[in-house]
Every structure is written in structure tokens, then in C-alpha cells.
């Protein structure tokens, strides 16, 4: 298959996954705000930190109020990480690769795009926020399901799974990083609400119920970390995504270098003793994982996307 087509499918999958993750993050934050007393509410600025959109937001010269942050993350086209932007990019990538995809895919992505164009005009008031974000999440899941059920699981599909899992790992590590920075400190004020906050971290990754099923204990910080980083069964756990990435690599040609990076990243992740990691050390560890994810991306791009003349 053409290198360009592979690259576009990879990015298509990343953008759809990013859309779903961002929508869920907004939704959880929205619910958390409804739960907690005003004094200890995490500011809306946290959203901007998690999404790594600090520079773009600063450029807009807006205050991190609820209204501004929601509008910036949801419908702002000048924010390249907004839900609106992500779906626009996903659609652009698929427009030029339509001939290798099931025809329903274009209809789904197009209708999601058109619904967002409509909705992006409002700043998503609290009254319909839940319904709209849920709809976005569901439509993304529909697309993932459609591809899993109706597309040949050939090379093209491997690039989609590769993109999706790298994006998942990226978002999981971001949420863990920001969540633990807030929650592993010794701030007494948050003490009574820590449970609720940890639960919200799990929910941001759609992981709460799966955590309960798998861990069967109450929510405790290090159990949560272990689950989100090391679980071999939860699809959004970083270890699981790296396992999926390894599987994709094996199925693709010339995979030696890419597979090696994925493998060593997973080993590095699994070797660490999470109980011993606190504060800065945890932050540093998460940073290392993020660096590894970037290396996997670079190696994939070099192997499969940037083909040089002989």
C-alpha cells in the first residue's frame, strides 16, 4: 500500500481517538464540577494542562473560565486540539483515502462533522452539554466498531490500530500525570474528596467500572495507577496499548526497528515498581513513557511513511 495512504489512515485514527478522549475528558470535568464544593473544585484550567494546549490558550488571551475553556476545547477552530479541529482533520485524511475504506465510513465521519459544524456555533451550555458530548463519544465508538467489523484486517487496518493505540497511550499518560500531580500531594483540603477525584480520573478514561471489576477493592491511588499503567486487560491501560502496538508492528513489513522500540518501551513500563514512585519521580517516569511513545511514532514514520528515493 502507498506510504501516503498509510500515513493518512494513521492520522485519521489518531484524530478520531483524540476526539473521543477529549469529549470524555470534558464530560467528566463537567460532572465533577457538579459534585464538588466550589472551594476545592479543580479549575477549568486543568483541562488546558491535560490537553497540553497551554500555549494556544495563552495566545487567545482568554481567562480560564468554564465558558471560555469549554468553547476553546469544543468548537474553537483556531485551537488545533479542539474537538471541532480533530474531526475536521480526521475527515480531511479520510477524504483522500476513501477508495480503501468501507463506504459507510465516509458517511459516518461526514455526518459527525456536519453535526459538529452546527453545534460549534454555540459555546455548549451546561443544559445540553451532556447530551452533545455523549453523542460525540458514541459516534466515535461507532466508527471504531464499523472498522473493526466491516473492514479487511489488512495492512491498512494495522495503521488504524497503531494510530488509535498510540493516541490512547498518549491521553492516558496525560491524565495520569495531571491527576497524580493534584492528588498525590499532601494538601489537606482535598483529603475528604480524594476518592471522588480519583474516581473522576478513572472515569476520564472510561475505566471506573472496569477497575471495580478487575481490582475489586475500593479506589486507592496506587491501585489506580497500577491499573491505568500496567493492566494487561484494560484496553486504555498503557501496557495494553503497547501490546497492541507490538502486534501491529509484527504484521507490517520492515518492522524490526519499530518493534524493538515498542518492545523496550513496554519492558521499561512493566519493570518499574509503582509503589515506590511519588511526586517528582512519578512525573519523571510518565515523562519517560511519553518520550517512548514519541520514539515509536518517529520510528513508524521513518519506516512506513517517509520512503526515500534509492
Amino acid at each position: 500500500m502507498l506510504a501516503r495512504v498509510a500515513e493518512r489512515l494513521y492520522w485519521f485514527a489518531r484524530y478520531v481517538e483524540r476526539t473521543e478522549n477529549t469529549a470524555r475528558l470534558l464530560l467528566v470535568q463537567h460532572q465533577l464540577v457538579l459534585d464538588l464544593p466550589a472551594a476545592i473544585q479543580p479549575g477549568w484550567g486543568v483541562m488546558i494542562d491535560v490537553l497540553g494546549a497551554g500555549e494556544d490558550f495563552a495566545r487567545s488571551k482568554l481567562k480560564p473560565t468554564e465558558k471560555n475553556v469549554v468553547a476553546f476545547v469544543f468548537g474553537d477552530k483556531s485551537n488545533p486540539g479542539s474537538i471541532m479541529s480533530c474531526i475536521t482533520y480526521a475527515r480531511e485524511n479520510i477524504r483522500t483515502t476513501r477508495e480503501v475504506m468501507p463506504s459507510e465510513l465516509w458517511e459516518r465521519i461526514n455526518s459527525l462533522y456536519l453535526s459538529l459544524v452546527q453545534r460549534a456555533r454555540s459555546d455548549l451550555p451546561r443544559s445540553n452539554r451532556h447530551a452533545v458530548l455523549n453523542d460525540v463519544i458514541q459516534r466515535c465508538q461507532q466508527i471504531t466498531g464499523l472498522l473493526s467489523g466491516c473492514m479487511n484486517h489488512d495492512d491498512a487496518y494495522q495503521f488504524i490500530v497503531l494510530g488509535r493505540n498510540l493516541e490512547r497511550a498518549d491521553m492516558s499518560t496525560r491524565i495520569i500525570d495531571v491527576g497524580s500531580a493534584q492528588l498525590l500531594g499532601d494538601d489537606d483540603e482535598t483529603q475528604p474528596y480524594r476518592n471522588a477525584l480519583w474516581i473522576s480520573v478513572l472515569k476520564s478514561l472510561s475505566a471506573y467500572q472496569m477497575y471495580r471489576l478487575n481490582v475489586r477493592r475500593n479506589v486507592k491511588s496506587h491501585d489506580v495507577l497500577a491499573f491505568l499503567l500496567h493492566s494487561a486487560v484494560f484496553p486504555r491501560a498503557v501496557a495494553h496499548t503497547l501490546h497492541e502496538i507490538q502486534n501491529c508492528c509484527v504484521n507490517l513489513p520492515n518492522h524490526k526497528a519499530a518493534l524493538a522500540v515498542a518492545k523496550s518501551s513496554r519492558e521499561h513500563l512493566l519493570q518499574v515498581d509503582l509503589a515506590g514512585l511519588r511526586g517528582d519521580a512519578l512525573h519523571q517516569f510518565i515523562d519517560d513513557i511519553q518520550l517512548n511513545l514519541d520514539q515509536i511514532h518517529q520510528q513508524a514514520a521513518q519506516t512506513w511513511f517517509r520512503i526515500q528515493a534509492a
Binding site: 501516503r4 477524504r95 458517511e107
Partner: protein
């Protein structure tokens, strides 16, 4: 029994008025389906009768069903307007245009004859130039042609063929004669719409198909693939054939993707290809570089290779011309084939056919007057009000004058332009294009149309069964372009003899 009857009557009343062919007035023009009010041509009788059994409402709902199918199937074309590209649904009228097979066989022969001669002409122009040495064709026309590419001199492509895919525009005049209006030898488009129109008609009017022997059209992609494969410089079982597109912003992108998909060929952009030091063309795949044998290019000559043509082009592939010249890759159509696409060259096609094939042309040209010729120019200047004046070196209907539709000032302006630069202009009498019944605002009315069949030439020839019928949807209009309010029709070649 009684109740049933009542129900049927009630149903009919609710359905509203029936289609009444007696109201259809073809007027002074040749109508493709109706010979005189109330009388269908023999070949169209079955279709006309079947449509006559519909109510106007039913017919309108079938038209809506067709429009919905077109949307669902994603058949679109792109319109450029103020910097934005808009995808519009392809406009198609559900009443087919019908041609008897006997007549079509003759047209087919004429088209093959024409393309064969034109390819011999192009090959001659870029090599020995015998037609010029023998005094049949003036050298000055070649020298002043924008589409003559000097770098192509001395090249002999496989089979001696330069224009592998040709789309010729045919029109029918009042007396029923079919003329060739022009030959598109560069990158003709529209064939995907011909195929999709048939698919849509099969969906919405399946009942009409059982009654007739309609020649199928859907083997075009496999014919196209076979023709392209016959151009492969490497003698391998499955040569690598690719479709080169300028990209998503091109108005015919839908067609590029469609044809690639139907042929099972890769759809590539300039950036996907690279020419190696060995002069071979490679495409960049996830497994590395793969050699390409044949490129069906939908990129214009100018943009094909920045090393030889426009240096600012990023749509093409640096070194592509060198690879083609070295015989390491085939390009369809070959660069420079457009030299025979010139409106002045067009007027010489009857002589070209005679010179190379020693045959009389089977299909006539529209009578043309070259303004560079004194006698012709005098005639044009005297009769400009009834003529169509075209610039010789342009395509796409730019800078044209349609005499009968123009004011006195406009005609005089063109008189001056012709006197100033006679080489640049040619003129033709305004033809009375034929019409066919078309659904307009719920009623069936005559609308003008043309026909673009597609002719392939590689090792062998192939002509599409019919082609793309384009119809001017505005009353009285002769403009059939889809970007200017034109529509299309499915075209049926019906075999009446074996029925």
C-alpha cells in the same frame, strides 16, 4: 369486486394526472425519442409507452429516488467558487437517451477511424513530419500551436499511440446528421458519470430493462485496465498500473478515485512517485519503493514534470519526462498529444484521415471556417450573426461568441478581433442541437443535448457503448456543462434487431 374497482379509481385520482406524451412539442429540432407530437421513434417506443403509464407524481418521485441514490452513492462533482471547493451532487435526468444499435455501429467505426488517424498524425508530427513535407498540412500551424511540445520530437511511444483515451463530443443537427464537434485528447473526463448514470437507472427504473436489449457499459474499467496494461514497457504478467491525480481539489477527483478503485490500481499523487537514477519510476509504499510500469495521468502536460515544463509545479514528478523518453514508463495520454486537440487542427481532420488511411471520413466535421484563410474570413465577417466564433488555441469555451445570442456591439467587437488576429479564430454555423424529453419542474419538456463517447487505443481499439449524454437543463439553452446548469442522462444503445 366493486370495492376493488372503487379503490383503484380512488388511487388513480390521488396519483394525479398521467404523463401525456401528446403535450410534448419537440418543435423544429430533431428529437432523439419523439418524431412528432404523440409519436415515438421505433427504438424508443417501449420506453415512451412505459413512461406513459406513470402519473406525473410517480415520475417525479422516481426522479427524487434517483437524486437520493446519487447522494447515497456519493456521486459528486466539484465546483470552484470564491476559493472554496463545493461538492455538489451529480445532476441526472431519469429519462434515458436512446440510440439504435445499427446507427451506433457506424458511429463507432467513425470514432475508431478518427482516433487511428489522429494518432498517426501526432506520431508523424513528432517524427518524420511527412504530412507537412507532402504539403497537406501547413508547418505554421504546428509552430504556433501551444500544445506542440518540442521536447517530444523523435519519441515513438509503444504501438505508435499518443492519445490512448479520447473523449469526442458529438452533436446531432436538425436533419439527424451526427457531427463531431471536437476531440478531447488531453485528459478527457466524464466516463465515471456514464457508468454511475447506468447504475442509478438500474436502481430506479429496473422495469424498463427487462423489455429491451440494452448494451451494457460497465466493462469500461476492465477495458481501460487492459489497454493500459498493453502499454507496459516490461513484459510482465501483472504490470503496475497507477492513476496519477492532481489531488482532492481537482474538479474530477471523484472520477480519478472511482476509476482507480474499479481497475484495482493505486491512486497516486505526484509526491507518491519518484524517478530513480536508473530512469525508472517508483512509488513509495510501506514496503519500500515499487517500480511503476504505466501511469494513467490526469495531470495536464504543463504540470507533469517540473524539470521540463512548469518549474513551479508541485503536482507532477521531477524526472518523469526523462523516464518516459527512456522508455522505462508509459504515460497515457502521452505528453504532447494535445497538439491534435487544437481547433485549427480539427478543421484538417478530414484531410488527415484521407492522408493516413486513404479513406473517406465516416463521421463529418461541423463545417468550419478558418479566419486565417481570406475567403473564409470574408464569409465569417459577413455572416457572424448566425455563427459561433471560437479562439483556435483555447479550450473550455473561453472567449467564444455565439452570434444568434449576441448583441450587435458584441458581433462588431469580434469582427475587429478577427481582423486583428485572424490565426487565432475559427467559426462554425450555429447548429440546432437535437433534444430529448427531460423532466423539468414535474413536466416533460424537450432540452438540448450532446454526447461524449470515450474511445480507447492501445494494442486494440474500444468504444464505450454510448457515452455520457449531457443536457442543457435551461429552456432553449445550448450550454451543457455541469458547472453551468447542465445535467446528464443515461445513454442506451438498444439492439432492436435481435428482439
Amino acid at each position: 369486486m366493486n370495492n376493488d374497482k372503487k379503490a383503484t379509481t380512488a388511487k388513480k385520482a390521488a396519483a394525479g394526472p398521467m404523463v401525456n406524451w401528446g403535450n410534448y412539442q419537440p418543435g423544429a429540432f430533431y428529437d432523439e425519442l419523439i418524431s412528432s407530437p404523440g409519436n415515438a421513434r421505433a427504438v424508443a417506443r417501449g420506453v415512451v409507452n412505459a413512461i406513459g403509464k406513470f402519473s406525473e407524481k410517480q415520475l417525479a418521485s422516481k426522479q427524487r429516488a434517483a437524486e437520493q441514490a446519487i447522494q447515497e452513492m456519493g456521486i459528486s462533482f466539484t465546483v470552484y467558487s470564491e476559493g472554496e471547493n463545493i461538492d455538489r451532487s451529480w445532476p441526472m435526468d431519469i429519462i434515458p437517451r436512446i440510440i439504435p444499435m445499427k446507427e451506433w455501429r457506424k458511429v463507432e467505426q467513425g470514432l475508431i477511424q478518427r482516433l487511428t488517424a489522429l494518432n498517426m498524425f501526432i506520431n508523424d508530427v513528432y517524427n518524420e513530419q511527412n504530412i507537412i513535407k507532402d504539403g497537406i498540412f501547413p508547418a505554421s500551424i504546428i509552430e504556433s500551436s501551444k500544445d506542440f511540445l518540442k521536447p517530444c520530437m523523435g519519441i515513438k511511444p509503444i504501438h505508435g499511440v499518443w492519445a490512448h483515451i479520447c473523449g469526442s463530443d458529438l452533436v446531432r443537427d436538425k436533419d439527424g446528421t451526427i457531427y463531431v464537434l471536437e476531440d478531447n485528447l488531453r485528459v478527457p473526463s466524464g466516463v465515471s458519470y456514464m457508468l454511475e448514470n447506468r447504475a442509478v437507472t438500474k436502481r430506479v427504473l429496473p422495469q424498463l430493462f427487462s423489455k429491451h436489449n440494452i448494451l451494457p457499459v460497465d466493462d469500461y474499467p476492465s477495458q481501460l485496465y487492459d489497454m493500459l496494461a498493453s502499454l507496459s514497457p516490461r513484459k510482465v504478467q501483472n504490470p503496475e498500473v497507477v492513476v496519477l491525480t492532481p489531488g482532492i481539489h481537482n474538479s474530477a477527483y471523484f472520477e480519478h478515485a472511482y476509476l482507480a478503485q474499479r481497475m484495482g490500481a493505486e491512486l497516486v499523487e505526484g509526491g507518491d512517485l519518484v524517478v530513480g537514477d536508473d530512469d525508472c519510476v517508483y512509488m513509495k509504499t510501506i514496503a519500500g519503493l515499487e517500480r511503476v510500469d504505466v501511469i494513467y495521468r490526469r495531470v495536464n502536460d504543463d504540470f507533469l514534470d517540473p524539470e521540463v515544463f512548469r518549474p513551479d509545479s508541485c503536482l507532477g514528478v521531477p524526472g518523469l519526462f526523462r523516464a518516459w523518453k527512456a522508455g522505462k514508463v508509459s504515460l497515457a495520454n502521452a505528453p504532447g498529444a494535445g497538439v491534435a486537440d487544437d481547433k485549427v487542427v480539427y478543421t484538417y481532420v478530414p484531410q488527415i484521415i484521407k492522408y493516413y488511411l486513404d479513406e473517406e471520413p465516416i463521421l463529418p466535421n461541423v463545417p468550419s471556417y478558418l479566419c486565417v484563410n481570406d475567403e473564409h474570413r470574408e464569409y465569417v465577417l459577413a455572416n457572424i450573426e448566425s455563427m459561433v466564433v471560437k479562439p483556435a488555441n483555447e479550450s473550455g469555451g473561453y472567449g467564444m461568441l455565439v452570434g444568434p445570442a449576441s448583441s450587435k456591439e458584441e458581433c462588431n467587437k469580434f469582427r475587429e478581433l478577427i481582423k486583428k488576429n485572424p490565426r487565432n479564430y475559427m467559426a462554425q454555423p450555429t447548429l440546432s442541437l437535437s433534444t430529448a424529453p427531460t423532466l423539468c419542474g414535474g413536466k416533460i419538456e424537450p432540452r438540448h443535448l450532446d454526447l461524449r463517447p470515450f474511445i480507447l487505443q492501445g494494442e486494440k481499439h474500444y468504444v464505450t457503448a454510448g457515452g455520457l449524454t449531457r443536457v442543457a437543463l435551461r429552456k432553449g439553452s445550448l450550454v451543457v456543462n455541469s458547472s453551468q446548469g447542465g445535467g446528464s442522462k443515461d445513454t442506451w444503445i438498444i439492439d432492436t434487431e435481435s428482439e
